[in-house]
């Protein structure tokens, strides 16, 4: 049993190291194949562990080694595989395997092919450490690891130069990578403070020990820890106001977006809240704040996706929006629902991104959906998969999104937080609208790409076969809701709906489906025949506000980036160069000058040497006399 855990954990590491050996060499399919096989091995181990836990619900625990043993602090490299962990592991490894296989096709023309697989596998390894660790410090290691790997992967084409902000895409990959990493770092400070507070008060970082002793701490301290940890989650999962990096992260290759920004890294924040649920159950005001923030982000992101023209950014906004849903669920206490939605979302979002990758590849890396249209004729399979994923995303029965989203809405209703329910309901409609706006603008309507001279082509058949696991899961996963609930509530607290809600459930379902379908219908009416651009609408204030992301990146740049840059400049020129450098140079200068002055004492003249000797003799004699007299 332990060997399965180790295989699941270390196979991606082996894959990463193996690929790193070839990093400087030209592309070789050996690397891609071996990497995909190793990740597949990790997937198989995770699934076996899943089935084992289904039979026997005791968590499996391995202690790899003692890590930090200093004074009273004893932190081990331990890994626990319990219900939550094995769910995350299965999701992560499944999506990773599909992405690895797809990358063989997508990165086929890239000369840094080998390096890509090394980074990708390293990312999977870090994510697995994050979810499998049994203490907060291991979690933090994985946290940082995924941050670094996402930096490496977003900035994969680091040699692309910076572009001005008017051109779409608006930033360069290295800038986007830096932005992602720095924003995450700012949030990690909060997380570290939370970890410090836990250790300082409880003396341990192991999950079991920490959660058993939570009642020893007073309430305001728990609130502090909860807020601090959630700040870390905000950075990783791109909640407002730390959300700007997620859309710019689309500068990375599409498989990266599929893996990191759909399924894994951004869900690490949700995982943290779920894992720390004993803590968040003690502090309902913080949990409520999390739910409200999640709801706000849901509608905030959905509104920005309504007018966007970039293929991948629309999908990024939808990820942001669905993360808001997950946080809403977790904040309202329905932790297993959040995890269920996380898993379902991973499947169809990854599918959506990979389909977008197909479109991009076929359209010669074109990203503007206003320049596409009518691709159904040329890319039928991609149309099929993206349509499927969009249906799942919109929450249409019988796809997976329907079950998870509806459950979240029911939870919101049950908690009598009708405001949250209403906003989430509205967002569901917006989600359906913009998803299908994208699908229709890309695949139906007039063929706008003709005048740009692009010749689209479909991906090879084996790529379609790669998508199929995700597609199947997106379709059937919803039906496993009851089984999932039973499985997860062995660890997580169950969520009981009141009787009142039980009666309302059918009405709620109808209402939700109604708005989702109406969103699709409106999108069909507007866009299925083709794109009609209306300059009046495009220049209106609301449109401009949404198109420029509520001008938030601009505000950040003016209020935070530029002053910080000026401050750094001052620190460099005034403090570093004038004070620090001057001091060091001054000391060296002093020594040199002293040496040059002393050189004159060595003029080769015997007479002057004798004078110096006499002077020395006098001094020594005086000192000797003083010593003797003082005794």
């Amino acid at each position: 049993m332990e060997s399965l855990v180790y295989i699941a954990l270390f196979a991606p590491l082996v894959s990463s190291l193996f690929s790193a050996l070839f990093a400087q060499r030209p592309k070789t399919y050996l690397v891609g194949t071996v990497a995909s096989l190793l990740i597949g091995a990790s997937l198989v181990s995770s699934l076996i562990l899943l089935f084992t836990l289904l039979d026997n619900p005791t968590p499996i625990h391995v202690d790899l080694m003692d890590w930090i043993v200093v004074g009273d602090m004893n932190v081990k490299f331990g890994f626990t595989v319990d219900q939550v962990t094995v769910t995350m592991m299965s999701v992560v490894t499944l999506v990773s395997t599909v992405v690895h296989v797809y990358s063989n096709y997508y990165m086929g023309h890239d000369k840094s092919y080998n390096r890509f697989f090394s980074y990708l596998s390293a990312f999977v390894f870090s994510m697995l450490i994050l979810v499998m660790s049994d203490n907060f410090l291991g979690l933090f290691i994985g946290w940082e690891g995924v941050g670094v790997c996402s930096w490496l992967l977003i900035g994969f084409w680091y040699h692309k130069p910076d572009v001005s902000k008017d051109v779409n895409p608006a930033v360069s990959p290295s800038w986007a990578a830096n932005e992602a990493f720095i924003v995450n770092r700012i949030a990690d400070l909060g997380m570290l403070v939370g970890i410090f507070m836990i250790y300082w008060s409880l003396g341990t970082l192991n999950y079991n020990e920490v959660f058993a002793n939570l009642d020893k701490l007073d309430h305001s301290f728990l609130v502090g820890i909860g807020i601090a940890l959630f700040i870390g989650a905000m950075g990783k999962s791109a909640q407002f106001p730390l959300h700007t990096w997620l859309t710019d992260a689309m500068e990375g290759p599409t498989p990266v977006s599929a893996l990191i920004h759909a399924a894994t890294m951004v869900t690490a924040g949700v995982y943290l809240v779920i894992r720390a649920h004993p803590l968040y159950q003690e502090i309902p005001e913080v949990s409520y704040f999390i739910a409200v923030l999640g709801t706000f982000v849901a509608i905030f992101a959905a509104s920005m996706a309504l007018v966007n023209r970039d293929l991948k950014r629309i999908i990024a906004y939808s990820t942001l929006s669905q993360l808001g849903y997950m946080f809403a669920a977790a904040g309202l206490g329905a932790y297993w629902v959040a995890l269920f939605h996380l898993a379902a979302h991973a499947f169809f979002k990854a599918l959506l991104f990979l389909g977008a990758g197909n479109v991009m590849h076929g359209m010669n890396d074109e990203l503007d959906i206003f320049k596409m249209g009518g691709l159904k004729k040329y890319m039928a399979k991609t149309f099929f998969f993206m349509g499927l994923a969009s249906l799942a995303l919109s929450g249409i029965y019988p796809f997976a999104g329907f079950f998870s989203k509806d459950t979240i809405l029911e939870v919101a209703f049950n908690e009598h937080t009708y405001g949250i329910w209403f906003v989430l309901w509205l967002t569901a409609g917006l989600t359906a609208f913009y998803s299908f706006r994208q699908v229709f603008l890309v695949f139906l309507g007039d063929e706008r790409f003709k005048k740009y001279g692009i010749h689209p082509h479909e991906a090879p058949n084996w790529v379609a076969w790669t998508f199929s696991p995700l597609a199947i899961m997106a379709v059937i996963f919803g039906f496993f809701k009851e089984d999932t609930m039973e499985f997860l509530t062995k660890l997580l607290p169950p969520y009981e709906m009141s009787e009142h809600t039980h009666h309302m459930v059918p009405i709620l379902i109808i209402v939700t489906t109604l708005i989702a379908v109406s969103g699709i219908v409106i999108a069909y009416i507007k866009y299925a025949k083709g794109l009609k651009r209306d300059p009046k609408v495009e220049n209106s204030f609301a449109y401009k506000l949404l198109y420029n992301q509520y001008y938030i990146p601009l505000i950040y740049e003016k209020t935070i980036t530029k002053p910080y840059e000026q401050l750094s400049n001052i620190a460099w020129q005034q403090i570093d160069m004038k004070v620090v450098d001057a001091t060091v140079d001054g000391i060296a200068h002093l020594v040199k000058e002293t040496g040059e002055v002393s050189t004159k004492a060595q003029n080769g003249n015997l007479s002057s040497y004798l004078k110096w000797m006499t002077a020395g003799l006098i001094m020594i004699t005086i000192i000797a006399v003083i010593f003797v007299v003082m005794k």
């Binding site: 050189t599 060595q602 003029n603 080769g604 003249n605 015997l606 007479s607 004798l610 004078k611 006499t614």
Partner: protein, 101 residues
């Protein structure tokens, strides 16, 4: 008045200082040697005086050896002095700055 050891030692000190002043002041190498001789003699006086007042013969023997050493030093020193004179044509100390650093 009776002579004590202190008289002799003070005399020795004064002579030593005179020799020291000569060594510092003299620029001609040969005269430098003269001043060195004065210093050696001053030390000899000190040795002999102490030996006489403590009735220990070691002082006189030491002074004897110092005389022997001084003699050999003069021999070798003058030889070197002759070589310097042949090479540089002058005995002035200020001209010899070859070891300048």
């Amino acid at each position: 008045m009776t002579l004590t050891l202190t008289h002799y030692l003070v005399l020795s000190a004064i002579l030593f200082t005179i020799g020291l002043a000569g060594v510092i002041r003299r620029k001609n190498l040969l005269m430098l040697f003269f001043a060195t001789e004065i210093m050696l003699n001053a030390a000899n006086i000190a040795f002999a005086a102490i030996s006489a007042y403590i009735n220990d013969l070691s002082g006189q023997l030491f002074a004897l050896f110092i005389i022997a050493i001084a003699a050999s030093e003069v021999a070798v020193g003058l030889g070197l002095l002759i070589l310097i004179y042949k090479k540089y044509g002058t005995l002035d100390l200020d001209n010899f700055s070859v070891m300048k650093g």
